[in-house]
């Protein structure tokens, strides 16, 4: 029988970061990927915050398949035909650990998996791990079929949001609709020069957009647009509970979003070259499984490590940081003697904290609940838009003062004033 010190299931950012860290620390490591190559089954919005990559591969920028470095952040509120946008431009956005970049998963994941292989991990693709392999109730490795298993002291679960191993390991009950959103994305092809001209960007420069309000037709969720080298990633993340309740197909929603005048402006003339959809863990700290048990660590989306606080969507950075922390925990467990026991692996939590994964997740613990407030996606964007409309419309019919407009909008809103004040407070605290 084949055996390794560690088997990592899933060669996404979390799995490859774990495999790379483990291999560097001298663990014989097997990285198993379901797709025919890393990244072909991966999907995300499109942006990676680089800080965790700095920690893993200090000279990552040398050969990392970056599409564009984000130099402009945009947040737009949409109604049916209008938008109100905040745009932030700063050279600070692309400095050092604060840099973020857009990427395409087939390229990025293949690059990171190659780094893990270069460090000594063995990558096997095209194999779906169905279960943990147990002997006498103890986890001994992974199983693909009754007579096809590989032994390992440690199994790192990096399977993504719909992980079956997390449930099989007894770390979490079945997923519930309220715990996950559905992400859809269309990749739209445009020449690099057109993207640069249209968005006012330099050669390696990129822009990130987040859309709230009508983007998701009043369903809880939001839209995004990221500029890649010669494509745009345009999509939505929408509550699967709302989709089910309102009987709306996510593909229809995406079509409506794409044809909104404020989106059309950016993508016109482009050709849709790819459509993808994926589950997104939504409840952050509220849906985390147990993160370890004897012989098992959980990293990345499988652990629910995703932060959506309304203005930043973070997943890949937390995935990479958790992968590093898993490697550190394994090293600490080995040093403690006695192997990968539940007690020895408990340092995983400490390493997650020192890398600010758990701390950030807990800090934004309330954000998912606040984001569930439907008024955010319906009433408030409309109010904002009416205020903007009244401010900027000059048609000779007499101009109002800002204060009067605000007062009028607030008192005519379909939400009690006290409710509005509470929402404002809750929003500021949770975001």
């Amino acid at each position: 029988m084949e055996r390794f010190d560690a088997v990592v299931v899933g060669a996404g950012p979390a799995g490859s970061a774990a495999a790379l860290t483990l291999a560097r620390k001298g663990f014989s490591t097997l990285l198993v990927e379901r797709g025919r190559a890393p990244g072909v089954k991966g999907m995300f919005g499109g942006r990676i915050y680089s800080w965790a990559l700095h920690d893993l591969i200090p000279d990552w920028a040398k050969d990392c398949p970056v599409e564009r470095y984000v130099v402009r952040e945009n947040m737009s509120f949409l109604t049916e035909d209008s938008s109100l946008a905040i745009s932030f431009d700063s050279p600070k956005l692309r400095e050092g650990r604060a840099a973020s970049f857009t990427a395409l998963r087939p390229k990025f994941d293949a690059w990171l998996a190659k780094k893990a292989q270069d460090a000594g991990a063995m990558l096997v693709t095209g194999i779906r791990v169905d279960d943990l392999w147990r002997e006498d109730g103890r986890v001994r490795g992974v199983a693909v079929a009754p007579d096809d298993h590989v032994a390992a002291d440690l199994v790192v679960i990096a399977e993504g949001a719909a992980s079956v191993l997390v449930r099989s390991a007894g770390l979490k009950a079945d997923l519930e609709p309220r715990e996950v959103s559905v992400g859809v994305k269309e990749t739209i092809e445009l020449p690099a020069e057109t993207i640069q001209d249209r968005f006012g960007l330099g050669e390696k420069e990129g822009a990130a957009f987040i859309f709230a309000g009508h983007a998701s037709l009043g369903l809880r969720g939001g839209g995004f647009l990221y500029t890649n080298q010669s494509t745009l990633s345009v999509g939505l993340v929408v509550s699967s509970e709302d989709l089910a309740r309102k009987q709306i197909e996510v593909a229809d929603l995406q079509t409506k979003f794409r044809t909104h005048p404020s989106i059309q402006r950016w993508i016109r003339g482009g050709k849709i070259v790819e459509y993808s959809a994926h589950l997104v863990p939504e409840l952050g700290a509220g849906m985390m499984p147990r993160l370890w048990r004897e012989g098992v660590l959980v990293v990345g989306d499988a652990a629910g490590f995703l932060i959506n606080n309304g203005y930043t969507f973070r997943g890949v950075d937390l995935a990479i940081a958790s992968g590093i922390a898993a490697g550190e925990a394994a090293e600490a467990a080995r040093a403690a003697g006695g192997g990968m026991t539940e007690g020895n692996l408990a340092t995983y939590e400490k390493f997650l904290r020192s890398r600010n994964v758990l701390t950030d997740l807990e800090r934004f613990r309330r954000a998912p609940l606040f984001m569930k407030n439907e008024r955010l996606f319906d009433v408030y964007p409309r109010m904002l838009m009416e205020i903007a409309e009244r401010l900027y419309t000059v048609d000779g019919s007499g101009k109002e003062r800002l204060f009067d407009i605000l007062l009028d909008e607030v008192s005519s809103a379909p939400v009690p004033k006290l409710r509005m004040l509470l929402d404002l407070l809750q929003g500021a605290r949770s975001m």
């Binding site: 029988m1 084949e2 097997l30 063995m122 096997v124 194999i127 992974v142 590989v150």
Partner: protein, 274 residues
């Protein structure tokens, strides 16, 4: 010359395979009228994969060492590695520039020499033919060189009392034949569903050493008997058949009505019987 298996040694099955362009991706070079082989995805010749599945099933049932053999460029490693990932024990690639352009006569000679070098075989399995040339010569050619009993168009092999029992597909039915070992069978395309590679198998491949490369000199193959110059086949002309244009009608409307209209049209055009 071959030796029958002593009791202590597991049975040895040699499976001959070829790597061919994937059937769905076949392209003919418009100028040379030959098959494009470069830059086209490859696979194990499908009937050879069926032969391998029979070997692996026998290994599961009786215990056996399965050795996979091929002749060709080193790009064939891909298919030999896949065969090991599926469960074969090891593989041999006969690879040498002087073999280039060999037709089925030198190929059968070179493979039979290589099989003798591997030695200790009890059963040799080949696909009935390849999907890229479809001659079906090589299996019987090997049997001739090695002076082995052969069964062609076999779809199932059972072992009992040191003998091979094989189901043979004949034109008007199936026949069951029995023969002594060692012997050779050529296997019907599509007679079984070849298994997928296993995790354990893929790990074995990654650990390396599962494919051995032999040159003609390693095997003791006579250079005067192989290669293009020693191949009697002459390809005089290759034609591609132009498919007749299709009408391409789309039946629209209520599903039930559209299906009815489609059926009527198919019956009218005598595509199907009423």
């Amino acid at each position: 010359m071959s030796v029958s298996a002593p009791a202590v040694r597991p049975m040895r099955i040699i499976v001959c395979i070829k790597q061919v362009p994937k059937a769905q991706e076949l392209q003919v070079d418009p100028v040379t009228q030959t098959l494009k082989r470069v830059g086209v995805p490859s696979e194990i010749n499908p009937p050879d994969a069926n032969a391998l599945e029979i070997a692996l099933t026998l290994k599961d049932r009786h215990g056996a060492e399965v050795v996979v053999l091929s002749m060709g460029p080193t790009s064939f490693d891909e298919s030999l590695e896949r065969a090991v990932a599926m469960g074969a024990d090891r593989s041999v690639l006969l690879t040498d520039r002087i073999l280039g352009g060999s037709d089925t006569v030198p190929t059968a000679y070179a493979l039979s020499e290589t099989i003798q070098k591997i030695g200790g075989y009890d059963l040799i399995l080949c696909g009935e033919e390849t999907t890229d040339a479809s001659t079906g010569h090589v299996g019987p050619g090997i049997a001739g060189h090695l002076d082995l009993p052969q069964l062609t168009y076999v779809s199932e092999v059972r072992l009992a009392d040191g003998k091979v029992r094989a189901r043979r597909t004949a034109e008007d039915g199936t026949e069951w034949w029995e023969t002594a070992m060692p012997s050779l069978c050529t296997v019907n395309f599509g007679c079984n569903k070849p298994r997928s590679p296993t995790l354990t198998g893929k790990v074995r491949v990654k650990r390396g050493g599962v494919v051995v490369h032999w040159s003609c000199a390693d095997v003791g193959i006579d250079p005067k008997k192989v290669g293009l110059l020693n191949s009697p086949t002459i390809v005089a002309k290759v034609d591609t058949v132009k498919l007749p244009p299709r009408e391409g009608r789309i039946f629209t409307g209520e599903a039930k009505e559209a299906v009815r209209a489609l059926l009527e049209a198919l019956i009218r055009d005598k595509v199907i019987a009423p």
